[in-house]
Symmetry: C2
Subunit: 271 residues, 2 copies
Amino acid sequence: VKGLSVGRFVRGIRGILGQRFAPPTSLQDNPVLGLLYARRSTRRFLRTPLPADVMTAILDAGRLAPSTVNLQSWAFGVFDAASWRAAFGRGIPFGGTAAILICGDMHRPRQAIDDFPRKPLVDYTVAVMNASIAAYAMNIAAEALGVGSVMLSDTGRSGFYDGLYLREKLGLPEAVFPLMTLVLGYGAAGPGASPPKLPLDQVVFKGRYRESDPNVMKDWLDGMMSGYRAMHVVKSFKGQLRHYLSKVDEAEKGLHRMIFYAPEQSKRKGT
Amino acid sequence: VKGLSVGRFVRGIRGILGQRFAPPTSLQDNPVLGLLYARRSTRRFLRTPLPADVMTAILDAGRLAPSTVNLQSWAFGVFDAASWRAAFGRGIPFGGTAAILICGDMHRPRQAIDDFPRKPLVDYTVAVMNASIAAYAMNIAAEALGVGSVMLSDTGRSGFYDGLYLREKLGLPEAVFPLMTLVLGYGAAGPGASPPKLPLDQVVFKGRYRESDPNVMKDWLDGMMSGYRAMHVVKSFKGQLRHYLSKVDEAEKGLHRMIFYAPEQSKRKGT
């Protein structure tokens, strides 16, 4: 990643602020679509706690999400500010008032179905797919209830980047994979600008896979870097990338240990 | 998995049919919550095709979904009945009129960000998380527009169970991972009963991880087996499990090849 000139910074910011997302005119009255187009991550929260019925509805949205073979291979660790501090010795990231640590959980179905084979990558794929779907269901439910949220997977030691750490802190058994934390609370500011989204023709292919347009991707990267610069006066996107790189080796090793635990033992026990 | 006695079958069916999902009374007027609680998979479709604006809104919901570091690491292969048949030599599963093959795509961000390190399991986790979130966004958007859908990951050679097959058929580059197909269409029947959902206290933990209740899990498994038996007169849940087992070794090997492609080469190119 190269540095960002003033001209590219200005163009990048203009690109971000100029983004308008709306459903096709014929479908504009649909409240669910409206929410899906307008949803933004929240990173500043009021101290007002969430009522119990709101929290129940959010968790239910995750519980009732669809899953491969209806395995419901997820587990939700629920925290308020005090229990988060008790577990991790610090506050919920961004000052959220509640947090849900979303884990892929193949431990529970494995306890129930005794002849379920252990295949590390199939298991992991099912766990991550299902748990991610449940996570977004909870994100949408929160948004629908006027609750802001942000899904964190590599920030604040609250996701897959710190799986072994979370496993040890929370006593997670093998085949339970911490993936991300949904930080929740009432938003302290209006919705910000969306980070730069790729146009539909770059992410869709018909028939065979199609490479993306390098110019569109360059604009996107400029937008990413400009947006980051505008939001973080001192930090830069490159700095953030360096931080990410400094932890990625450890994250990779941690994932390897969690996914491929005791393969010989389970091979004897499995098929 | 043991067989199913008549008594357990009857109890299992009663359990499924007795399930009632509703938001807390105080929140019952919320249309988005209502949809999240009522959503069911559709497996029988009318031949009526989807209007173009409906398809655009569904794809936009995926495109605008949140993603780790805003990487948008997904690709959506869009098919109608004819193009699906041209690609795979058979119809869309369950007679859907449109299908979206959802892939995790780390190829595109890697093309744009040249010094992005290649870490197979970190990459795969990010790809699967983001693409699964986008998949559910499209599922919800479809539901909001009165379009039925079902997410298939191990049925009809349309997901991660057949990754190498799909890669070859569609010319997917390395680091593009087919995960599941969202089969779409107008539903030909009313919503069926929900498969058995675990109660909230089984999937939530506070503070440290808590094991699930073996009796609750036994009831859940009875419900799964009974529901399967009721829906498939000739097939059984055990038969389906055998079919799954017969393919799981191949699926595991395919995932291994897709995730850990050419590690030495990328190691030189990477960090």
